[in-house]
């Protein structure tokens, strides 16, 4: 952080272009990787450290200074970050000043609750100039009069490369730009500008409503695994993991990507391993979702892997136009040759008759699968949801009788209706919430529910009404997991209102103990699975 703070400090006061270029050149030449890469990202506005609102900074400094002295100081200085940087009490022995890379990498995997403490710890270890740069970086107020173009020009001049070549590469690069610096310093060839790993749109399945839809074709049957559908892209020497929506989620799964050594694009299910080495329930995977980065502990507790469904590209060859049967054969060879605990294949189930298929679907829940996937063997990989090629046949939901506890107004055309319902089940003599649902009922039912809620309100909390605990819902839900979201300690996945039981007394609603028994501890039972149909077509 020190060299970066010193650079910012000088850039702010240096009006001339050649002066700014010399300052940046000195920085790029003297600061090691990956710090200089993060510094470059900050200068080119590619680094978003939007972790601290001014209110957080204000609270931190308020805990450490006299309010009157703060007010007088702020009045004089006129800038919150600068006032805080100057006022922050110096603390001897806080440790060496943090590196820029330490700050960036740590912040990206720090929880919101932990962020203020981390920020305070770094402020303790920085001097006034460092604190100012850090706070400006945090609050997004870095104004140093350097355009992205000027920063790239500085790079070009520092390392004697044409700036156009850097600009051409730029869209394919990401901080901290290791490959860029390696090329600039002639340690590696120039990264290819076209050669960015690229997302391909997913092929999606329709819900199977009737087995008759399957007639007349040959189908590949697989389990629908209970994880997250992802696309692994390993091409042009880089690796990325994309979500269903094409978001790059590589940062959260470095463990998986590090274990992949191939040139291919694979469609598959993202899963984590449990202690027994098998795929763990969705709830475990959830710990690793929706994060920009990940801690070492999380990677150790929930190691990620990919269960391959399909092959889209192999060694630069786009195989999406081939029939599934051929893609599958190539995928099997590829996965077999790869030999990594980060990649396995979703086995093909051989089903001999329709009755067997129904039996498998019924068994999905016991086995911790989401259901079945049925894919026509002659289907080419087509973006989107094409009718008649791929089907999903999900497991039947659980149901429970729960009591309506709170109702909240909806959004959009439902904004005048109480349409979001929190419901609970009995734990001893009290009702504890287990889920929240806002669909599964008709418009007519919604109007009746809305009227009932208004007539049976006990208390109001803003847009939320607490109601008399007398109305029972039959709730359908896919699964239930331990969770801190609700007071009960459990949360339902995909809950919806199956029926409104106007007739049923609340005392007859389900008990929490009953629901707790539905918690799936293993997606893949430790005792070896049935194996009955688990044969690949080629075997």
């Amino acid at each position: 952080m020190k060299p970066f703070a010193a650079l910012l400090d000088r850039l702010v006061y240096t009006p001339a272009r050649h002066g700014k270029l010399a300052l940046m050149a000195h920085y790029f030449r003297t600061v090691p990787d990956p710090d200089r890469g993060w510094g470059l990202a900050a200068l080119t506005a590619e680094l978003s450290l939007d972790f601290a609102k001014p209110a957080l900074i204000r609270n931190l400094i308020a805990d450490r200074t006299d309010p009157t002295l703060f007010a007088l100081s702020y009045d004089y200085v006129g800038d919150l970050a600068e006032t805080c940087a100057l006022l922050w009490p110096e603390r001897a022995g806080g440790g060496p000043a943090p590196r820029l890379s330490e700050i960036v990498e740590t912040l990206q995997r720090t929880s919101k609750a932990e962020t203020p403490r981390r920020i305070a710890g770094w402020l303790d270890r920085l001097d006034a100039t460092g604190r100012y740069a850090f706070l400006k970086l945090l609050t997004g107020g870095l104004r140093v009069g350097v355009s992205a173009r000027l920063a790239k020009t500085a790079l070009a001049e520092t390392f004697g490369k044409p700036v156009e070549e850097i600009e051409e590469l730029w869209p394919t690069l990401s901080p901290p730009y290791d490959s860029l610096f390696a090329w600039l310093e002639d340690r590696a060839p120039r990264p290819s500008p076209e050669a960015a790993p690229r997302f391909r749109p997913f092929m999606l399945a329709h819900a199977l409503e009737d087995q008759k839809e399957l007639a007349g074709h040959t189908w590949q049957v697989e389990w629908k695994w209970d994880g997250v559908r992802v696309q692994l892209v390993a091409e042009h020497g880089a690796k990325r993991l994309f979500s269903r929506t094409g978001d790059d989620i590589s940062g959260a799964f470095p463990d998986l990507l590090e274990g992949i050594h191939m040139d291919a694009v694979i469609d598959g299910e993202l899963l984590v391993r449990g202690a027994d080495g098998h795929a763990a329930p969705f709830n475990d995977l959830q710990q690793r979702l929706n994060r920009k980065t990940v801690t070492a502990k999380m990677m150790a507790d929930h190691p990620a892997f990919l269960r391959a469904y399909d092959l889209l590209v192999e060694n630069g060859e786009d195989v999406r136009g081939l029939p599934l049967s051929e893609r599958r054969a190539r995928l099997e060879r590829l996965v077999a040759a790869h030999k990594s605990d980060r990649l396995d294949i979703s086995e093909v189930l051989v089903i001999d008759d329709p009755a067997a298929l129904a039996r498998m679907q019924a068994e999905a829940r016991t086995l911790g699968r989401e259901g079945l996937m049925l894919k026509r063997l002659d289907s080419v990989y087509t973006a989107g949801r094409v009718k008649g090629l791929w089907y999903k046949w999900k497991r039947d939901p659980h149901t429970a009788d729960a009591v309506l506890m709170y109702a909240q107004r909806g959004h959009g055309k439902r904004s005048s209706f109480y349409s979001d319902y929190t419901f609970g089940v009995w734990r001893g003599d009290e009702l504890v919430p287990v889920g929240k649902a806002y669909f599964g009922f008709t418009d007519e039912e919604l109007r009746r529910l809305d009227r009932w809620i208004r007539d049976h309100t006990v208390q109001r909390f803003g847009p939320v009404r607490e109601v008399e605990k007398t109305l029972v819902f039959e709730v359908a839900f896919d699964s239930i997991h331990p969770s801190t979201r609700h007071k009960s300690g459990y949360a339902m996945r995909f809950p919806r209102i199956a029926r409104i039981r106007w007739d049923k007394p609340a005392v007859e609603a389900d008990r929490l103990e009953t629901l707790a028994k539905l918690v799936e501890t293993r997606a893949e039972p430790a005792e070896n699975q049935t194996g009955l149909f688990a044969r690949t077509p080629s075997s």
Binding site: Y13, T68, L69, L72, Y76, G78, L86, A128
Partner: protein, 354 residues
């Protein structure tokens, strides 16, 4: 600047001090400055008076036209050089030498601010008042260090009397200047320094840092440099910037008064990079106002930590604050249970000496 200032603390302090009696009965704030009745003299008066005691040679403390002047030998020499015959009838007093003036015992004690700078210690009616003048607690090779004197009333400056002012080690700032010379070896580094004190200290710091090349000097700085040299301070090789070969000043340090920055005078320098050595450089808005590329936070005044640590050390019965940002310091004293008041002296200039 629309934010409300918390002013009630100061009002409260005035009331506390009012009932105290003591030194207020014999040391008064007048339009001319502090006046000591039993000794019949002023201290650092802002207008010509019959008898003046002068803490140090900066223009907002030492002025021409007084009748009799009592000051340290060095301060007297500075006044003689600056004011010539208008300096008044100068009488030198050594540090720690005691003199009786009327009913008051007087002695001058080093303040660590600049060459010759002194705190003036007044004793009368069993009470002791220390007028610090301007002071600092950090080491300065060009003058003896500040000596703490226990007292009933400590009259302190508050030039940097806000907790945002905490000067970094001056050695670090000199290192930044030398680092910039390496980065821009073709540019003359023009450092704005006040002629008395800052100029000499910056040179001394550069020499301590091992910089042994000749330093180029603006003509306006020469007189006081010579005076310091006569007083025994050595500076290494100094050259006239005026008339020097332009190419020779590439990558050289050139010292000039702050007013020379951006002046036509700088056209003689090769691609000058302007720096300014001042405690005000701590705050960006202030630094930017001066249009310099390299603000160096080097101050001859006590920063907030020095001001408050000194009061903690002296434990005076009362604190009077002469000039600067007195509001925060008065508030701070009050919060510590030390009665304090702002004297609101006229004629003090914020930037003088910095």
């Amino acid at each position: 600047m629309a934010r409300a200032r918390p002013a009630h603390h100061i009002r409260m302090m005035h009331e506390q001090v009012k009932g105290a009696g003591g030194p207020r009965d014999w040391l008064a704030v007048t339009e001319t400055g502090l006046f000591c009745r039993p000794g019949n003299f002023h201290v650092d008066p802002s207008r010509p008076v019959a008898r003046a005691l002068i803490t140090h040679g900066h223009g907002d403390h030492a002025r021409p036209g007084h009748g009799a002047v009592l000051a340290t030998r060095e301060t007297a020499a500075i006044m003689r050089q600056r004011f010539g015959p208008d300096a008044g009838s100068l009488q030198a007093i050594a540090y720690h030498e005691e003199q009786q003036i009327g009913d008051v015992r007087v002695r001058f004690v080093p303040a660590g601010h600049i060459l010759g700078s002194a705190q003036i210690v007044l004793e009368h009616a069993g009470q002791r008042v220390v007028i610090s003048g301007d002071y600092k607690r950090r080491r300065d090779p060009t003058c003896p260090p500040f000596e703490p004197v226990a007292c009933d009333v400590f009259i302190t400056e508050a030039t940097f009397g806000l907790p945002v002012f905490r000067h970094p080690p001056p050695e670090d700032e000199i290192a930044r200047l030398l680092g910039s010379l390496r980065l821009f070896p073709e540019r003359a580094h023009l450092v704005g320094v006040y002629a008395l004190g800052k100029c000499q200290r910056v040179i001394a710091l550069l020499r301590e840092a091992g910089y042994d090349k000749p330093i180029y000097i603006h003509g306006a700085l020469k007189g006081l440099l010579e005076l310091y040299q006569i007083e025994g301070v050595s500076f290494g090789a100094l050259l006239d910037a005026t008339g020097a070969d332009k190419d020779a000043m590439q990558g050289a340090i050139v010292l000039a008064p702050p007013s020379a920055i951006g002046d036509r005078w700088t056209r003689r320098l090769p691609d000058p990079l302007a720096a300014l050595a001042s405690g005000w450089m701590r705050v960006r808005q202030r630094a930017k106002q001066h249009g310099v590329e390299l603000p160096l936070i080097i101050s001859d005044h006590a920063d907030w930590d020095e001001l408050t640590a000194t009061i903690d050390e002296l434990k005076p019965g009362q604190v009077w604050v002469t000039h600067g940002r007195e509001e925060a310091l008065v508030y701070w004293c009050n919060a510590r249970g030390i009665p304090a008041r702002a004297l609101l002296l006229t004629g003090r200039e914020e930037e003088e000496g910095e």
